[in-house]
């Protein structure tokens, strides 16, 4: 972890209090974001997102599977994150597992809601091919290649970009299968259905340092945090999920305040992200 001297800590805290952070940003300014799509050609969709020195890759793989017996009209989505040891030697061996698990669970909860999938940012019913028999299983994998704070937001953005890059093959179901038989399917190689990502949320993490909170914290700033609230918000302004990390308690009124701030920040983030995704997709088609 980053060790900082008292003077440096003081400087960072002071910067946040005075609304001028170490790299000149205001409390609610994000770092420039860089999006690349289609980086993993074997996946159905993939994207790489960079924010400063934070660098993450997300990939989406779709596989045919059977829906859960309790929810025959819904597909399945699994989110999993790994921290590559390339990002820091401390992730070597099992060193990254704790952080990976924390990020996976936070993303799962921000993108998918609870077990019922009711709060899901991803429309699970659109993944069903034949109700009760065949559905798409989406495997969303994140990989942290380089880390400099704010991993959750970067992963959230990468997943959103990867999902807009995802083409799910069109499936033709052979007619005539009835009863308990598993119908035969024909997966098309040419026709792809674009995934609807308008409702996929972005994640905004507000990191509380001292009496103030900031967005897009660097790892130095994160080391000074008392607590952090990650809020996932979609374009419609709905909150899709929320997690709080860190030990210190928060005043309920502050949480509400944070949510409204996150909402404004998320609007800007969605807009920049959408324009970057569009540009990346256009660039990919050109090359």
């Amino acid at each position: 972890m980053v060790g900082l001297s008292i003077g440096e800590k003081h400087f960072i805290q002071g910067g946040i209090a005075q609304d001028l952070r170490s790299d000149g940003r205001k409390r609610l300014t994000t770092r420039p974001i860089y999006v690349e799509t289609g980086v993993i050609s074997q996946a159905n969709g993939s994207a790489r997102v960079r924010m400063g020195a934070t660098d993450v890759i997300a990939s989406v793989k779709a596989e045919l599977g059977r829906p859960n017996a309790l929810q025959p009209d819904k597909g399945k989505v699994v989110v999993n994150v790994d921290c590559s040891p390339t990002a820091a030697p401390m992730f070597e061996g099992r060193g990254g597992e704790e952080l990976s698990a924390e990020l996976s669970v936070a993303l799962q909860c921000c993108l998918l809601g609870g077990k019922s999938g009711s709060g899901a940012g991803i429309d699970l019913s659109s993944l069903v091919v034949v109700e009760g028999k065949i559905c798409w299983d989406l495997y969303i994998d994140g990989l942290v290649v380089s880390s400099d704070g704010n991993l959750l937001d970067a992963l959230g953005a990468a997943i959103k970009a990867a999902l807009s890059n995802t083409g799910i093959p069109k499936v033709n179901v052979a007619a005539g299968a009835s009863g308990d038989e598993q119908p035969e399917v024909d997966v098309s190689d040419e026709e792809f259905l674009q995934f609807d990502t308008s409702r996929v949320p972005v994640i905004v993490t507000l990191t509380k340092v001292g009496r103030h909170y900031i967005v897009d914290a660097t790892s130095e700033e994160e080391s000074q945090m008392s607590s952090a609230v990650s809020i996932s918000i979609n374009r419609q302004g709905h909150i899709c999920g929320l997690t709080k990390r860190g030990g210190a308690g928060l005043d309920p009124s502050i949480i509400l305040d944070m949510i409204s701030v996150a909402k404004t920040v998320s609007e800007q983030l969605i807009n920049t992200l959408d324009s970057h995704i569009a540009a990346a997709e256009a660039g990919e088609e050109e090359s």
């Binding site: 008292i6 440096e8 002071g14 910067g15 001028l20 000149g24 009496r211």
Partner: protein, 326 residues
């Protein structure tokens, strides 16, 4: 190839490309031909008693490079100057480092070298400034001088049997207070007479460590006298409130002034830009970059946006062609 990880639009790409090509044409031709990669053989004249220096080895009667870099020849000595590598200490270098361990009679300091450096209690001036033997009490009070994670500035003393030793025998060395520490590749820092800079019009201190650690912080007044007046010193200590005991409100009043902070951040961002572009980092270039950003009214955080990178690259190409003409 090392690619700049920036999102540039088409015109910015062309401009950056042009600026970099200009820099390439300006660089001395002798150097570009002397670039070698690992296992390239270096043409040498065996007759005049050759000395093989760093980055070279002999295989099958040939001198070959063992690192990527530039071949340098000094009289009979042939060596390869590596570019990107960890810091290689030389005696007398001024470095900035971070204390990672307080051990018996010594501190271990991380300085971007392949080992931790050692700063002995006996190789540094005591806070009271008196020259005397170090007692057991001094040893117990080591944490009051430096503790773990403190950023310090010191000088390379030399190699001893147990590793690289540092010394800090003057008031200008020692703990660095408020500011930020930046890391750049050490090859971008050139050894010069002066590594401490007090930029008066910004009110900031800039210490460009030879090891690629650069400190940008609030200006601290130092008295270079070996013996500081005892009474005077203790008064200063009393005036300084203990940071841990005061309330957050008081602490906020105690923060770095907004204006100074702005300057620190500007200088820090200038260094970040220069380091990403791979330009030599000197106090002149840093101040020029800071001035460029203020003269065209770029907000501090926008200095890390792609447009400013292009501007800095263009400015650098102009600057180098000017110095070349002279």
């Amino acid at each position: 190839m090392r690619e700049l990880q920036l999102s540039l639009n088409q015109t910015q790409k062309v401009r950056l490309q042009r600026a970099l090509e200009k820099l390439e044409s300006l660089s001395s031709k002798a150097n570009s031909n002397a670039s070698v990669t690992v296992a390239d053989s270096i043409p040498v004249n065996y007759e005049d008693g050759l000395l093989k220096g760093h980055g070279t080895a002999e295989f099958n009667g040939e001198v070959v490079a063992t690192v990527c870099g530039i071949v340098e020849r000094v009289n009979k000595l042939v060596y390869v100057r590596a570019l990107r590598a960890r810091y290689k200490p030389e005696v007398g270098d001024i470095i900035v480092g971070r204390v990672i361990e307080v051990a018996p009679k010594r501190w271990r300091v991380e300085i971007n070298y392949s080992h931790d450096a050692v700063l002995m209690l006996s190789s540094m001036n005591l806070p009271d400034g008196i020259q005397r033997r170090r007692t057991a009490l001094d040893e117990l009070n080591m944490r009051s001088i430096f503790e773990e994670n403190d950023v310090i500035c010191a000088e390379v003393r030399g190699f001893q049997h147990d590793g690289l030793h540092l010394q800090a025998r003057s008031q200008k060395y020692g703990k660095l207070g408020r500011g930020q520490l930046l890391t750049v590749p050490p090859y971008l820092v050139k050894r010069r007479k002066q590594h401490f800079h007090h930029l008066e019009n910004y009110g900031i201190d800039l210490i460009i460590g030879c090891n690629g650690f650069i400190w940008v912080g609030e200006h601290v007044h130092v008295t270079d006298d070996m013996v500081v007046d005892q009474v005077n010193k203790s008064e200063q200590d009393d005036a300084k409130p203990d940071e841990n005991s005061i309330s957050p409100e008081d602490q906020e009043k105690n923060y770095t002034r907004q204006e100074t902070r702005g300057n620190i951040c500007r200088a820090a961002n200038a260094i970040r830009v220069l380091s990403t572009l791979g330009f030599n980092i000197t106090v002149e270039v840093i101040t020029e970059t800071v001035d460029l950003s203020t003269s065209i009214n770029v907000a501090i955080h926008e200095m890390l946006g792609s447009e400013f990178y292009v501007l800095v690259a263009e400015k650098e190409s102009v600057r180098r062609s000017m110095t070349k003409k002279k």
